[in-house]
Amino acid sequence: MLEVRNLAKRYGDVPALQELTVRVEAGQCLILLGRNGAGKTTALRCMAGVLVPSAGEVRVDGIDASDDPAGVRARVGLMPEVPGLYERMSARAYLDYFGAIYDIEPSVRRRRIGELLELFELSGAGDRWLGTFSKGMRQKVALIRATLHRPKLVLADEPTSALDPDSARRAWSYLQDLQKDGCALVICTHSMEEAEHLAGDIGIMSAGRALAVGNMVELRRESGLKVRQEVRELPTLQDIYLAIVGNHGGDRRELAETRTA
């Protein structure tokens, strides 16, 4: 579904992303971990056909993002870190607007909007202006917007960072349902819990590079950690992340940031 080969992106003289190669099949999930500025958001934007790569190749559903970026964007649902909602629009009108942009039939989009608002417990607030919504409610609307057109690939930047644990679990469950329907997911997060919950493959990024990409077993092997020293159990993703980033010269600030996320 998503094939990224040697992807690189520069902003002027500054390399934001270098030599990223990943592959996500339909129904699979790739989690991208890394500190702020590691290149995750840039990677998502390139994968979504929003930014043109400086080098390398991005293919979504067989379409090259350089040849047909609009075609790629039509197949992708991008949920940026900041929800970016229109304050003076009701949730229902807002979602309807984006449904129309994605050419969803009016009757179909009304039905889907109703179902998804219900699923995320926003039915009662559907006709309120988005400016009155809480942070978590906004994030839910952003997630609905990104998935309303049933994209083949969902790219989400910290999709549950503002959600309470219950809502976060609901969101994870929704994303897993999409996965079961054949949707591929790429999710950037600082939450190790979220990563372990959703991941098939995990990419660990630092300074625009993917330090390691693989499933938990492969990453465990790469990290050199076999069992957790103190409690004699398999190392968690948090342990693996710290070990890999530490091996590649990641600084203490990065470790602290990831621990607290």
């Binding site: 500054v14 940026p80 929800p83 003076r88």
Partner: protein, 448 residues
Amino acid sequence: MEAIAVSWPKLEQRKVALVARRDLRDAVSELRLIIAMVGLTLAIPIGVGSGVRAMALFGGGTAVVNRLSLVGAFFVVFIPASFSLVLALESFVGERERTTLEVLLSTPLREAEIYAGKIAAVLCVSLTLCYGGLIVYCLITFAGLGYFPVDILLALGLSTICQVAAMVAGAVIISLNARTMRAANVMASFIILPMSVVLQVEAALILLGRAEFLWCFALLMTVLAIVLLRMGFNGFSREALLARDVGLRHPLRRAIGAVRAGFAQRPGFLRLLWMRRIPMLIAAAGFPIGALAGFLAGSTSAVPPSVVRPVLSSLVRAAGDGGALETALAIFAHNLLAFLLVAVLAILTLGLSGFLLTFVPGFLLGFAAALSSWTIALTGIVPNGLVEIPAAIIAGGLLIQVGATAMHMDERGGWSARVLAALADYIRALRWLVPALAVAAVLEVWLG
């Protein structure tokens, strides 16, 4: 000159209408804003129109009342037209700041569809207010006045559309360089200042009461609006709007680095002349075109001699009335000042100042010829003109290139670097042009 591809983008009208409808709804969703805009739009024509009628009733004199009614019409459309800048800044920069633009850019919408939809929404609001105000004003002022200058009002209507479009396009260009509304409001001065000059010219033309001048002005505004809209479109790209704020620290060091880079690896003088042959040909054409225009203006009295004579006299006075050296220095300083002034104005006037560097002397020559004869007029510019005119053509051509570079927005960015390089070419060329001006001054004093 770099090739500039001129092609208009494909648009899906339904998508443009979708974006426009949403923006329109957003623009009119704030009741206080709407009340203020509609209130001003109605209050001004009612007030001004009533004033004109009162003057007509109390014997203000037909000529004065008629002129005043035209100025009133200009005043009535000016205020709502200025709303367009605020609305456009909000629509482009506001959305960028609130990151709603990023979401829109991640959809299958083309940049052109977003751009056209947003511009249509702003134009719709502004022009509705402008024309609404104008209609109210016309109904109050001209009904029963016995005077209805339809040609002038139509020209005013067309130039208003273009002024609004130019301000909106200017706001888009600002949005590419401003990430916050605060920065955008400061940068809006770059639109407000030139626009205020444009409005003063328009007001003067209205006072003249000559419809043909106003139509020419409207035509110029149309060209300007098309150029600016095209610039805005070229610059309105996902790449430019979503590029990260990386490497933005140490602004002074970066600015020095950019200026150095602008001067690095520029072509030599002769190679530069060859590379810029097309803008130089345009600048060269400015002289005979100016001469012809000046001659026609002088011989048909389209421009009264009383307007041009003081200019010619001031040029003579500028040469000074002291010794030969002092006169030469004055001529040299005058010409050098002209070369520097047009350079400063080159970006703001999109290269027009470069064209004027040859057009204006040509116009004055032609006008002088119309008042006397070509022989007498030409003796005034020989032999110094043989050096001055080629220098003006080179300088004018390089400044036209600066203007062309300034109006060429590229979706990959790099506008500042290109403009700096074009300015660097001009500054480097001054090493040859300044001595040429000195030689011309010497020739004028000792051989002229």
